[in-house]
Amino acid sequence: MVEYHFPVPGSEREKEIVVFTRRHWVSFLGQFLLSFVILIIPLVIMVIIYLFHFDQRAFQGIAKNFIVLILSAYYLVAITFVFVAWMSFYYNCYIITRQEIIEITQVGFFGREISQLPLLRVQDVTSSINGFLPTLFAYGNVLVETASEQKEPSVLCAVPNPQEIASKIMELHDEVIETEGRHQQILEGEGTLAPGIIGPEKRAIPTDEIQNSEGEISKNDLDKGGEIDIK
């Protein structure tokens, strides 16, 4: 078993996991139904042929040999398809810790994509439930937008209770910001505060400085606009 460098269920760092969720099983319903249909199609065809008394000589002689080989190969491929479909369901999961969002995606038999998004970079979280089945079974998407312009926003697809997960992500995001003391920098980054101004205590200008500068129009005052009293 490979050692993951992030918390996964069953690992020593399992305690760090705040939310562990898979895609809702209903989102895989199409794939499961397709697997089921693939498995029963040959049986259904045979039953139809026997019930409706079609030419049963098709199952005799050399054709029988041929059908056995084809059916054998067909069922081997079909069970592999079912197994891969189950793997996709089971290993498409999302792990949210106090530091990051980890998305694990199983691609076919061999491929597994793992993407990690630090919570500190999260800017906006949107949850959505669209359609009949998602509304009925309460699952939907959570869109996590980051500060990066190049990177596409992360989407937690078809997760159960998306609103709850979205609010949990924002809650953890706020916690991380508080812990890291990055609130001011983030406000600056968003343009809420002018860069360089660190806190309200440092914004206070000494009164004698104000008195000395009365009557002068500085470049900063002009940039600010509005009315300026000139003595």
């Binding site: 269920p9 050399i62 054709a63 040999n65 041929f66 080989l69 059916l71 054998s72």
Partner: protein, 74 residues
Amino acid sequence: MYIFLILWLVFLFAYLIFNVYGLIHVMAKRFRGDAVGLVMLIYIVAMLVIIFGSISIISNLDWGRPLGELFKIR
């Protein structure tokens, strides 16, 4: 008809290699305590049932007849 039998055996060989390689990969990337072990066991059993079932049926069939019989109009 032997040609189809040989093709089936080649397919079976390739299929088994693909599965052994795939299952080793899946085993390597497991989480501890997940349900993959059980499902993999079911998968392997199903695979073996199909393979041995096919072999037992195939061994009872006559493969010496010419291929042309398949397309003969009755």
